[in-house]
Symmetry: C2
Subunit: 365 residues, 2 copies
């Protein structure tokens, strides 16, 4: 990946305390906004991004030039309507699109690399709350997130319960399972096995751990898609040939697709950020933070919740969403829950889905 | 891995023709036998091994010293009873435990490496049939296999229908799905991304692509276990510590387990063999070989079939076994089918399972 043109950036006025006990000096949050903040500052919607996402939720990505990652959801007249709402999307700390992360310069003027402190989902949210403070937003109209974005929404609700009136959690979980951790560990090992990773010290070097990062992305990408979706999309069809080639080129379309996903990803993402963010997700267990009982996380919450899952999502299956809903019920919170049917697995939250649009629009109204 | 002490080895008397149109000169099949061949040569049971398996089905592995991979199933008084049956288990071609594969010497005296021809499951079975010819066994009492071993059993039944009276297929499939191919492709890319792979030319070099091979094994291993089994076995428990360490060591037990699986595997397996065998599995589509209709593969078969699946196997789910059963029914074959309940996913066929024992014993009786 190349150097990153900054979007808006907010420098936190104080060092950011972290769950590890360390502090992050001189922490910067890069963010984008869409729409206009109302005079009463009561129309803000915070959209939280997923593992490899960024602040470009509804505007072109500066490296790839591709449209924002949720343009179908965020914009004028869209379910998250920027003619009514002031939408904020910030790059999480630990990431690589302008917020402080492993590729940022440490106080000694050299990149943190693996000297960057290990962070948690709550640390990411602590950074986001710092941004909200800076913007003078005491209470969000809503916090919205899919996948890791949903973890942030839950963490905000649990730890800063007055900061969001509505909490919308899509295709997410309140804890990472052993299988979730296992897939992330494969990705981390793929990166760390790449000699170009060099213990994390590759900034400014001629080679980056692109091979390892691409393999990590490929493995993760399989978990984002359903078996049925893969079969529908690719089946056993061959790529640009009529017959098996008896070689090791990408012969099947699904191989070609995965290689494309892996190599494209390395253009826009930093391998060390991948290590730190997957670690934060693996550490995520909202119950553990609250005495081992998830309902405790939501005790007395004034927020309204909406939890959405997809029936073919095997990364964070519906059972995990139900687990959240049961905890919210036990805490006496206002919660609605819907399992949507979609063929595309976990990635469904990013794809066309009229029912999801209606749920989001209705919940934010 | 180190050099391999040979078990029995049979040199095929003729070059082996391959599906690719190439031929394998001077092909050798390494095998183990257990029990005694009856005078009528009618008590032989061929056990076919899985992707990373070998001929040591019921005797210690010469490199690891571990017991045979199916000792609980094969032996005196066991479900595949060596007091009654003459059990043969041979290393497939393309593998690395003595049968001709990429680490074998080509006619020019140098290892084949990636000059080894790409093979198919049917090619593996062609090699096994050559061994049976050499042993003078016209008709097996049974052919038995789990996972890739089941593919070989199906291929033998389809292409050499008179060679086995009974065909027992466990936790297998008649075709590799897009998701199956995708996981294998991640593994291949991990190996080929390792600089020590060096285009396959690493035999005799100081470094081998152990890092890439370990990542491949880790990714594959996740698919061998069920989500529930992983949760039961590891959950989110930490390894040798009471608190999160905020680092990148293997902190969760599941991470530690996967790293152990990955590193242990590289001691006994060759990376190029992993490439060739996964490719053969991805090519496997028994219907495609028979005019696009799976029932054609079994037309007029005189064999009896038994198909077994496990309810938590998401690698080759029960639906794939049903697909085989429907084809056998359509072909008018004698077939029994059972889905067993087991918590451990695909790997269940290798683990303690009394019901599986009874099914195997009953079918071979």
């Amino acid at each position: 990946m190349n150097s990153v043109p900054l979007s808006k950036a907010y420098a936190l006025p104080h060092p950011l305390p972290l769950d590890s006990g360390q502090v992050l000096e001189a922490c910067q949050i890069a963010y984008e906004t869409y729409g206009t903040l109302a005079p009463g500052k009561d129309n803000a919607v915070l959209v939280c991004h997923a593992l490899t996402g960024d602040q470009y939720v509804a505007s072109p990505h500066p490296i790839t030039g591709k449209p924002g990652w949720w343009e179908r959801m965020v914009g004028p007249g869209k379910p998250i309507d920027t003619t009514r709402h002031f939408v904020i999307c910030a790059n999480v700390i630990g990431s690589c699109m302008g917020s402080t992360g492993p590729m940022s310069l440490a106080p000694d003027g050299k990149p943190y690399a693996m000297r960057f402190p290990v962070i948690t989902i709550r640390d990411m949210v602590r950074g986001l709350v710092g941004l909200l403070d800076g913007l003078g937003i005491a209470r969000l109209h809503a916090v919205v997130g899919g996948s890791m974005g949903g973890m942030q929404a839950l963490s905000l609700a649990a730890n800063w319960p007055t900061r969001a009136a509505r909490v919308l959690v899509i295709a997410s979980t309140a804890r990472h399972s052993a299988q979730n951790i296992a897939f992330h560990e494969v990705g981390r090992q793929a990166i760390m096995a790449d000699p170009a990773w060099n213990g994390g010290d590759y900034y400014g070097a001629s080679a980056r751990p692109d091979n390892g990062l691409a393999v990590a992305r490929m493995a993760a990408h399989i978990t984002y898609l359903s078996e049925a979706g893969l079969t529908e999309k690719f089946g056993r069809r061959l790529q640009d040939r009529a017959e098996k080639g008896f070689g090791f080129d990408a012969e099947f379309q699904v191989e070609s697709y995965l290689r494309y996903q892996g190599s494209g990803f390395t253009r826009r993402f930093d391998a060390n950020s991948y290590l730190y963010i997957t670690r934060a997700m693996d550490y995520f267990d909202l119950a553990e933070e609250h005495g081992g009982r998830l309902a405790n996380a939501f005790a007395g919450t004034p927020a309204r919740f909406c939890i959405v899952s997809f029936d073919t999502d095997w990364l964070y299956p519906t059972a995990e969403s139900r687990h959240i809903v049961h905890a919210l019920n036990a805490a006496g919170a206002k919660v609605s829950f819907v399992e949507l049917s979609a063929p595309h697995g976990h990635d469904s939250f990013l794809l066309e889905h009229d029912q999801l649009d209606r749920v989001v629009q209705g919940f934010l109204a």
